[in-house]
């Protein structure tokens, strides 16, 4: 069998992102990661499932030729959790926007981390609702004037790294969309990780929130700065180094903040799930025997 290339995962769907959009980096890195994982024998193509919510980033559903579930805005995680419960052999990658994951659907992010569901969440963080033409999200910096916030935002941005760490995520990382090589490696590690993984991708939106230059100048790599990703306290400290304001003095850490294999994954906790895909199970339950539970003789 010849090796799979990222281009083998292309689809016929025309790509409708703006030229220069950070999502291209996520797409390329994702296809590379999946292709390499297949070539390395980690899984077959049929075992990959991607879920997406609604937003610019979510369009990735149309662009990677693997199993896909194009869900609702803010709901990329619940179907991913459901898919993994139904068939724990699948490798489930849940793509979602900052609006979707942190505004509409933050309950699912927190809880999936707490469950330690063995899925990989990729947060396309462009700090804006892009597809709806540029409103502030939970991670938008102070003072942003979008169409729904002409007076400028004054709420505190949320820190998804810190929040998912507190919620119990066992793999938490941040990457920059244009650093495709690193992103790819981190995606691979996250997919291989047994348990809940979050990969936040700093994804410039050239149309509504162009942070390309800012991140080029401010990101630095955790692994080059002596960070130990096994150290939870250190991870939290690093998480708080940058507060999502586009502060000229800030350093924006990227790489793996935290990884731990200590906790059981959600799917391992369920005895019937552990046995493998439900769909392969022939059900020959005898209804007469079942109703006899409430029989009176």
């Amino acid at each position: 069998m010849c090796a799979m290339t990222p281009n083998d995962l292309n689809t016929p769907a025309p790509i409708t992102w703006c030229p220069g959009c950070g999502n291209f980096g996520i797409l390329t890195a994702s296809k590379m990661a999946i292709a390499e994982l297949i070539n390395e024998g980690f899984a077959q193509r049929k075992d990959f499932v991607i879920t997406a919510d609604i937003g610019c980033g979510a369009k990735i559903y149309d662009y990677i030729n693997v199993n896909g579930f194009y869900g609702l805005h803010g709901r990329t995680i619940p179907p991913a959790v459901g898919i993994k419960l139904a068939n724990p052999e699948l490798k489930v990658i849940a793509y979602g926007g900052d609006g979707g994951l942190l505004n509409e659907g933050i309950s699912h992010l927190i809880h999936a981390a707490r469950y330690n569901s063995d899925i990989t969440v990729v947060l396309h963080n462009n700090q804006v609702f892009a597809l709806t033409t540029g409103q502030a999200t939970a991670t938008t910096e102070h003072g942003f004037k979008g169409k729904s916030t002409p007076l400028g935002t004054f709420e505190e941005p949320l820190n998804p790294i810190a929040l998912t760490l507190e919620a119990g995520a066992t793999f938490v990382a941040r990457e920059f969309a244009y650093d495709v090589a690193h992103l790819k490696e981190t995606l691979k590690a996250a997919i291989k990780h047994k348990g809940f993984s979050l990969v936040e991708v700093l994804q410039p939106c050239v149309s509504f929130h162009d942070t390309t230059q800012y991140f080029r100048e401010h990101v630095y790599r955790l692994e080059e700065d002596g960070h130990d990703p096994r150290n939870f306290e250190a991870a939290l400290k690093r998480a708080r180094e940058w507060n999502y304001d586009l502060n000229p003095d800030a350093g924006v850490p990227t790489g793996v903040f935290y990884v731990s294999e200590d906790r059981m994954s959600y799917e391992e906790g369920w005895p019937s799930v552990r046995k493998g895909p439900f769909w392969k199970r022939k059900r020959e339950r005898d209804w007469q025997e079942i109703v006899s539970l409430y029989g009176v003789e």
Partner: protein, 544 residues
């Protein structure tokens, strides 16, 4: 022959359990028993009661007039229910309870003697009532052993209670003993799901849907499936779509408020055509309403759930037998036609226990996953019936897609008008085939004979069935499939009617509205009850 026992007390005094044991013991003796449960939304205190209706003929309802025995664990029960007693009725109660016509049982002494917890009062008193009706101790004993899992102290307490009174009013018309089922609507739905091949039940607790979660949780290891509680109803519905997409036979359950939250996901079911079964147990509404009491007010929400138009199945069982069988049909149709099947029940059906002679499911659900996935597999292949062959991810090296966007046959997003037309046509083409199939599943049932017709649906069946037995010239037309609506069968069932009366447990007559919409038949005469209590035969008869 008909006897009625009311058992009342505070939450925490074991009223429901006592009624269940006593009811089951009567069933064991060959009687038909209907067990109504009434409780407020609190955990300790307040006033709980059950009504056991006992007959040698099938019975599916209770009355609020004519208890033969009131078992009163507290004074409140006497105050609230003495007026409902028959003339020759008696009250069984501990010494401390004040009442006329009381047969005191010295529960204090028994409890002290046996050194058992106070909650055993319930067992002592039902055993006394059991004796009063002249029933043999053995069948009660066996029932206690089953229901309280080898609690020998309870058996001893029962013996004491049994011995404490005389067999004053032995029931003469003792029917033949026959194996039957004593089962609630919730239990029947749970068993129906298991029988359908359930892999995953996903839910968030909400009265009165919660019992199904509890029953299914209890049985999950035995039958190798999983009952899973997630963070909220929106997670439940969306996770269920993911799970079903990935091949699991999946069901969700909730009550009105939770289902209202799921509207967006239900609409996604419509677009994605991922099979799904939803159990909707209604309670008094709108909003939080009176959460532990009954009502049928969510019917039109169920039929119209979510934005946009998509075919779905709404099935409304009328008793536990139907709850079991219709749940199986809901799975069958959902997984055959890749639609949403909603099973609509309510507090009254869900939490009342009925005596059932037999079950006989009409269909056999299957995952309907194709054996061989063609290399050019299309998740949304346009077919004659509108149903696309179903493959699941992981099955073959061909992507399987589900999407909330309008799409082409492969599941890629399409905005062109032609795809909207093709795919809407495909989705709605199923309705014809489903309707044909549903026509064979008795979507409309007719009971009794006469030119006067009662039209209703769901849990009101019990009261109506028992009412028409006492009436002359009345028949009952029960609509069990509300969507797709069985227009021909319904019209046929009412075609010779002189009078048509709509009976519902709601404010505005929701089924009546649907009938008008689907058939043009406007039913003006209506018996509607909306005090959050179930209909009873007498309530109906008085208003006809």
């Amino acid at each position: 022959m008909y006897r009625q026992i009311l058992i009342g007390g505070e939450a925490g005094q074991g009223i429901a359990k006592a009624a269940e044991i006593l009811g089951k013991a009567f069933v064991r003796e060959g009687f038909y028993v209907f067990n109504y449960r009434d409780y407020p939304s609190l955990i300790r205190g307040g006033h709980n009661f059950n009504v056991l209706a006992i007959s040698d003929e099938p019975i599916m309802s209770h009355e609020f007039e004519g208890h033969d025995i009131v078992i009163a664990l507290n004074d409140d029960t006497v105050v609230k229910h003495a007026a409902e007693m028959k003339d020759n009725a008696v009250i069984f109660a501990p010494n401390r309870v004040n009442a006329e016509k009381k047969i005191s049982v010295d529960t204090d002494a028994i409890i002290k003697e046996l050194n058992v917890p106070r909650i055993m009062e319930n067992t002592i008193l039902i055993a006394a009532a059991w004796k009063y009706f002249g029933m043999p101790f053995e069948s009660l004993e066996k029932t206690i052993r089953e229901e309280l899992k080898g609690n020998e102290a309870a058996v001893k307490a029962a013996r004491k209670g049994y011995d404490a009174v005389d067999a004053g009013h032995a029931i003469d018309e003792h029917p033949e003993r026959k194996p039957r089922y004593f089962i609630s609507g919730s239990q029947a739905v749970a068993l129906g799901a298991i029988a359908s091949g359930l892999d995953l039940y996903i839910a968030y607790p909400m009265t009165p849907a919660t019992p199904v979660l509890h029953y299914l949780a209890a049985l999950q290891t035995k039958y190798d499936y999983q009952a899973i509680q997630l963070e909220n109803e929106i997670a439940v519905a969306n996770a269920a779509l993911g799970a079903s997409y990935a091949g699991a036979m999946t069901m969700i359950g909730t009550s009105g408020g939770g289902f209202a939250l799921m509207g967006e996901a239900m609409s996604m079911q419509g677009m994605s055509e991922v099979p799904l079964v939803a159990y909707l147990a209604m309670r008094n509404a709108p909003s939080t309403g009176i959460p532990t009491y009954t009502g049928q007010g969510d019917l039109k929400m169920a039929v119209n759930i979510g934005h946009g138009e998509y075919p779905k199945v709404v099935v409304a069982p009328g008793d536990p037998r139907e709850a079991f069988e219709r749940t199986i049909e809901a799975f069958y149709l959902a997984y055959k036609y890749r639609v949403l099947s909603i099973i609509v029940s309510d507090k009254h059906l869900a939490e009342s226990t009925y005596t059932i002679d037999e079950f006989s499911p009409r269909v056999n659900p299957s995952r309907n996953i194709i054996d061989v996935v063609p290399s050019d597999y299309k998740s949304y292949e346009i077919t004659e019936t509108g149903v696309s062959p179903r493959a699941v991810p992981g099955q073959a090296d061909v992507p399987v897609r589900a999407t909330s966007y309008e799409h082409d046959e492969y599941g890629y997003t399409r905005e062109e008008g032609e795809w909207a037309i093709k795919m809407n046509d495909k989705r709605f083409r199923k309705v014809k085939y489903m309707a044909e199939e549903i026509a064979r599943l008795e979507p409309v049932s007719v009971y009794g004979e006469g030119n006067n017709v009662i039209v209703s649906w769901g849990s009101t069946k019990g009261a109506i069935m028992d009412a028409i037995k006492r009436l002359k010239g009345w028949k009952f037309v029960q609509v069990s499939y509300v969507e797709p609506f069985p227009v021909d069968q319904f019209k046929d069932a009412v075609k010779d009617a002189e009078r048509i009366v709509l009976v519902e447990n709601d404010v505005t007559g929701l089924l009546g509205q649907i009938i008008a919409e689907k058939t043009g038949i406007m039913i003006d005469e209506r018996v509607l009850r909306y005090d959050a209590r179930p209909l009873t035969p007498e309530y109906i008869i008085r208003r006809l």
